[in-house]
Each structure stands twice: as C-alpha cells, then as structure tokens.
C-alpha cells in the first residue's frame, strides 16, 4: 500500500509520467478540466453579479414582479436553482464521460501491480 506520508514512494510503482502522457489520460484530463473550469467561472460570475446587484442596484432589485415578490428575491432563488442544476449536470457528466475512462486507467495501473 502506498501512502502519501511515507517517503520515499514504493520502488516498483507504476510509471506515472508515461501514464500521464498517454492518450487516454490526456483525454480524461481534458474532459474534466473542460467541464469544471468554465463551469466554475460561470457560477462565480453569476454569484458575483448577484452580490453586486444586491449591494449596488437596490432600486432595480426592489422592483416588484408578482405581489410582494421582487426581482432580488427571484434572483436569489435562481441562485438556488442554478446551484442545483450545475450539481446535476456535473453528476451526469462525471457518470458518462469521466468515470468509465478513469476506471479503465485505474484498472490498468492496479492490475499491473498484482
């Protein structure tokens, strides 16, 4: 068993650099980063937009839409909706696009060792 708190690493470990350069792994990294980086930027921008509007655009956010429900409340509730939505999208992406590739690479690595 290898563990991060024991140095040096196991002598007969897998060749990590070769695996890192393999087409399969490069594809896995692309699929992960291609999803999580743009998505992180998107939700942070959307969150900051909401914070700045609540902070500096009081009149706009106070505009009534239906009954006592104003734009600020709707935008706030939309933050919940977008959070739930991104969560579900990521789970779908991970299940379909990430897990199968990661599993295959993992089995190759751990299979070699036994």
């Amino acid at each position: 068993m290898s563990s991060p708190d024991q140095e040096p690493p196991p002598t007969s470990g897998p060749d990590w650099a070769t695996i890192q350069d393999s087409a399969e792994f490069v594809e896995l990294r692309k699929r992960l980063r291609g999803f999580v980086f743009p998505m992180t930027v998107a939700f942070l921008v959307w969150y900051l937009l909401y914070v700045l509007l609540s902070d500096y655009a009081h009149d706009f956010m106070s505009t009534k839409v239906v009954g006592n429900i104003n734009i600020g409340l709707i935008f706030g509730l939309l933050q919940f909706v977008s959070t739930f939505l991104i969560t579900s999208l990521y789970v779908r992406h991970a299940n379909r696009k990430l897990d199968p590739v990661a599993e295959k690479i993992r089995e190759d690595i751990e299979g070699d060792q036994q």
């Binding site: 896995l28 739930f84 991104i86």
Partner: protein
Amino acid sequence: MVLAQSVEGSNPWLNMGIFALFVVVTLFIVFRASRTSKTAVDYYAAGHSFTGAQNGIAISGDYLSAASFLGIAGAIALNGYDGFLYSIGFLVAWLIALLLVAELLRNTGKYTMGDVLAFRMRQRPVRAAAATSTLVVSFFYLLAQMAGAGGLVALLLGIDSTAGQALVIAVVGAIMIVYVIIGGMRGTTWVQIIKATLLIIGAFAMTVWVLGKYGFNLSSLLGDAVAKVGEGGQRLLDPGGQYGLTGTTKLDFVSLALALVLGTAGLPHILMRFYTVPTAKEARKSVVWAIWLIGIFYLFTLVLGYGAGALVGPETIANAPGGPNSAAPLLAYALGGTVLLGIIAAVAFATILAVVAGLTITASASFAHDIYANVIKKGAADDKAAEVRVARITALVIGAVAIVGGIVANGQNIAFLVALAFAVAASANLPTILYSLFWKRFNTQGALWSIYGGLIICIVLIVFSPAVSGGKTPMISGVDFHWFPLSNPGIVSIPAAFLLGYLGTILSKDRDDAKYAEMEVRSLTGAHAEKAVNH
C-alpha cells in the same frame, strides 16, 4: 431586567429533558461505534466506510451550525433580505467543493488536509503549515460555537448568571469530548447524522406550518411580515437593510461574500469528511446530498425568518433574550407552544454539540497525524496506536481549551468569529489546495507562502479592523487602534494569498514533475487511493 428570564413560554426542564434524551441516545450509539474503532483509520476516517448518502447527511450536520439555523433565521426576521444573502453564499460555495476539490482530495489523501498539500512537497514544513492553519480555523470556529452556547443557554434554559452559563458550556464541552475520544470519526459521524436529520425535519415541519397559515402563498407571508413592522416595513423585502448604509459597508459585504463562497471548500472539518467514504465517486455523492440538503434547509430558513417576522414581530424578537437568535425559538412557540419550543431548543443544543465535536476531531487529527507523526517523528512512526493516543490526548486538550475559550468569549460577536474562520480558510487553505491539485509547477515555497501569507495577512487585517476596535460592537471597547476600514479581510487577503502562492513558486527553482505526474494520475483516476476497511 429581561435578562433574568428565558424566552416567554419556555419550559427549561422540558428543554433540558429533550436535550438529555438526545445525549443519551447519541452516547449509546457512540459507545457501540467505539467497538469497531480500534485503529488509526477508524479514529480519523471511520475506516473510509460510510456511504455517500450517510456522509452527505453528516456533512450537512457539520455545516448547518447554530449560526446558520438561529443566526440566519434571526437575520432574515430583523434585517429581511440581507439575511438571505448569507445563505446563498454558504450554498453556492459547495459547487467549488463539488467541481474542484472533493473527489481529487479523496483520491490523494488519507486523513487530513495536510496529506494533500504535502503530497508532492517537502513533508515537514508543508505539513506544519497545513496543521497550523487547520488549528487556527478550527479554533475560531470552535470559539464561535462555544460562545454561542452561552447565549443559547440564557435564551432557552433561563440561566442568566455567568457562573451558570459557564457550567453549561463546560457540560456541553465535556459531552463533546466523550463523543470524540470514545467514538472517533465513526461516532462523531453518527452524531452528525442524527443531528442533521432532527434539524432538517424540525425546520421542514415549521416551514410547512408557517406556509400553511398563508395558504402556501409566499407573497402573502412576505406581505404580513411587512405589515407587522408597520411604517418602513418594506425595507424587509429590499436589499441593503443591513449592508447598504455607506460605501464602506457595501464594500465590506462584497468582501464577506467572497470569503463565504471561497471559504467552505477550505474548511478543514468539511474536507476531512471526504475521507470517511470508500471512493471518490462516493465523495461526489456526499457533496450532492449535502448540496440538496443544505440548499433546501436554507430555503426553509427563508420562510422561518419571514415567518418569525410576521407571526412574532421584529420588535418582540429584538427585545427577547438572545436578540435575533431567538427568532426561530419564538416562532416555534408561536406555532406549537411549549412542546415545539422544547424540541427546537434541544435541536439547537444538539447542533452546537455536534459541530463542536466535528471541529475537535479535525483539529486533533491534524495535530496527531501532521505534526506528531510527520513533523516530530518524521513520518517514521509506524506505531499507529501511539498516533491515535496522541490524537485522543489532543482532543482532550482542545476540548478543554474550547470550554475555557467559550466561557471567556461568552457574549462576543459570534458572526465576527465565524466570518474570521471562513476568511482564514479562503485565504490560507483554498489557494494552496487549488494550486496543489491543478498547477504542475507549484512547489514547497509556493505552498508555504500561500498558507502563511494568507493566514498572517488575514489575521493582521482582522486585528486592525473595526470589528476588534473602534467599530460599533468591537471586541475590545474603549480603545481604537483600527486602520483597516473593513470588518471582513477577504477582498484583500484572498487575492494576496493567490499572488503569494504564485510568486513563492516561480521565485524558487524547485519543481518535481515526476511527483506531480503521480499526484495528477492518482487524483483523477483513484489509482492507489486509500481503500475502505472492513470489520
């Protein structure tokens, strides 16, 4: 004097009785869990054997502190919309944990945040730094919870003497120490699961009850909350009630919002929970569960806050013992009388107890695993039993410090302490975690600069902020040595920590591409990740 009485309608004996029942049930479970908690992996990570769903519920238990239950409901009742802004930051923050941190952390670490940060660095300095920031964040968070316990005692049990409150804080601390020392991570996790279930069911029942009174029409609930205030009540629905006063308070709010959204994924007691599951996929499931539960809970607090405003009234709440924190208990009394109040009071106590236990086990694990085993014993301590013994002793010490600190800090500004913990987590921990996981070039010097730099800048700015001296409700009154205008340092300290991590890295020639290859492959695929332990 209003201080000499608890919330009207409260029956202290009933409240204590229900709470005692919770303690007895959880202690029983903790003792049972201790039978299978023998080794280090059991004590630190519950044998990596909880399911994603169980861990997700436990995470929401760890995260939904008394500050978010009583505090946010009270903030909405008194300040309206601006209270709601808090909960949105607390929720959106979870996307960072989901997308960038949870799975990769589970794949590359074993017990603590230090495992991941030190993965490809020089072990001793980086682990010492990781443990330092873990202890600082946990300490401030712990202090906030314990100080909150004092106020809650006054509110719910009618104990107004300082000595009486100190006694209750000591009892709460002692029970918590028993949970942690005997039950380890497995016992603590079960306490979180039970507490989270009670809290969410209780909030759900009250939410439905409140909405039922208004024909499930949110608009008429809001209208009633406004009408209850009378003139100027409209401010409850509009943003700016709390933070919109001046340019400085507006900027302070942006700073707070940044710390909230970036702090969560750097809280050590949250990160440590990802090790209690067997795989990265289960870690992902945990976060998904946590996001749904926490999100739904915050929607409940929106209704509870405005419900308390409409049914109890902001004036009554502000004048009650405990001020804003009394909103949810008073609403419970208005709805279901003494019994519901007793249940909600007990749940609030259970909340403090469970959160404090989670923090203590994290701090003790970091000390024993990072400092004792890897810095003092240089990683050569194969004697895992000794390491766990150190962890238990540390838990005892931290528990004692928390009791004393809680008694001293009783009555302090709790929101300030919690915001401080989030700001330190966002400044010292998150930049280092992200660089570590995603930046090939990152090295030991970069890690040390971002951890210590973020930590020091954050604390210095806090010490010289209006929250400590010279503000409206400062920690130290009578003197004024503040020069930093904001109470929340995040807007300065978070970018500064990212910058320091970058500069520290490129100003050192040190780089280890081979170790990064191992870390990246392992983090993305889960190869050689720590496996679950079967009993």
